[in-house]
Assembly symmetry: C2
Homo-oligomer: 250 residues x 2
């Protein structure tokens, strides 16, 4: 049985949309999810606008098995993620004792000005997600994981949630590359893909060291299917008179 | 008068969602749009799935002034963007004479196998977007611009569309940084932001060279408003006993 578990990522932040900051969380989270058998099925980047957060959280948590958000959980006025996740769930938000304690332990009680206490505001019913880098926690409410936007903090929070996520069938993949345009093999790719139930073949052109070529990624949750299709693809490439190499492009 | 023109970007490609490929188009397009007075207001990354493309194209072209798509316009079976943009608009798609000629001119007529002719399939009513890098064109249909996924090709296509886009008021910005946590200034930021109609202040913590600090980006379409708020922010930071520096963090 092939079981598909799907997730969405909501990246919240004007600075990504203005081009000022390059997002680094999408690719990291995509790889991390793939490794635990979760398919990242959609990503949305939205500005720090209350109703946009509420609407997208509610849309995505209904459509996907898991939703991750990044960004907007700091201490300043433009950090409005937590309050709007609470609004999306229709729950109240207030200072969470354990979150406050985590901040006090890390920074001292003098540190806890009203602005900083904002980082301890957690929607009711949520559980904390540890932040070993800078103390201010993320939180989980139902199938929604609210994470920091700073990449090193976001990544550290994943350590605390891996055991809360139930992955599906892991997608296995093998890569093959050829030094010829992908269009030469377009007919083969679709024929092979159509022969298998769970198989997909991605075709990615590359230009490197003065040569152009293509990498084909064969993917399936079933090892047998994957290996059979991979051998067939190699044979068909050879029949056309081209050499192939296993692995990514050089 | 402040005029807002808003765009969305739809990134189409399994390879971004699986983590195999790092997207480079979001940041480039975000910066390019900001420079011509267009606000990138939402980005979505979706897989190569027909109905997802149709639904998202129709949703975004209705909600935003412009929609850009990247990816899925190559010659292989997993390149399904053009046909589904046609479907979204309810128009037919067929080989476009001028697009075919562009491919023939660049590659020779022998090159034009059925698979490669797929790159000349253009929805009816669309106009071509030149691709000086590898010939296969993109296209514009109404307010939707369909671009390649390979960054160098996508960037080259923008040269042909800048004159088709009417930007709004350009958002001006000035940056200030301090060597102190952003939470120290949380109250100031919100007070200043609330004093002006079109102003926004973004707060971005950083950790560099063993010190931590924050960069505040003051943004407004009105130069007077921007400069007045910027001076006020500097004064208020000094009143709290901190030095500030104009410009991005070191």
């Amino acid at each position: 049985m092939v079981k598909k578990v799907k997730a969405a990522l909501l990246i919240i932040g004007d600075e990504i949309l203005s081009g000022r900051t390059k997002d680094a969380n999408l690719n990291y989270l995509a790889t991390w999810l793939t490794d635990i058998g979760v398919i990242l099925d959609e990503v949305r980047v939205i500005p720090d606008v209350a109703e946009r957060i509420v609407d997208n959280v509610n849309d995505c948590r209904a459509k996907f098995d898991y939703l991750f958000t990044t960004g907007g959980i700091g201490p300043t006025h433009d950090d409005i993620t937590a309050e709007n996740v609470a609004k999306a769930f229709g729950v109240d938000i207030s200072v969470h004792d354990q979150a406050k304690q985590l901040l006090a332990d890390a920074m001292g009680t003098d540190y806890l000005t009203p602005a900083r206490l904002k980082m301890a505001m957690i929607p009711h019913g949520a559980s904390l997600i540890k932040n070993p880098v800078s103390a201010a926690p993320g939180f989980q409410i139902e199938n929604v994981f609210v994470l920091a936007g700073i990449p090193v903090v976001m990544q550290s929070m994943l350590l605390d949630i891996e055991n809360r996520i139930t992955g599906g069938s892991k997608i296995l993949s093998r890569a093959i590359h050829v030094f010829a345009g992908e269009s030469t093999f377009a007919d083969i790719l679709v024929e092979i893909e159509n022969c298998y139930n769970h198989l997909s073949i991605g075709s990615y052109p590359f230009y490197k060291a003065g040569s152009y070529g293509a990498t084909f990624i064969v993917r399936s949750p079933l090892e047998n299917e994957l290996n059979q299709a991979f051998v067939e693809l190699g044979n068909r490439i050879q029949e056309k008179g081209y050499e192939f190499h296993e692995g990514e492009a050089p």
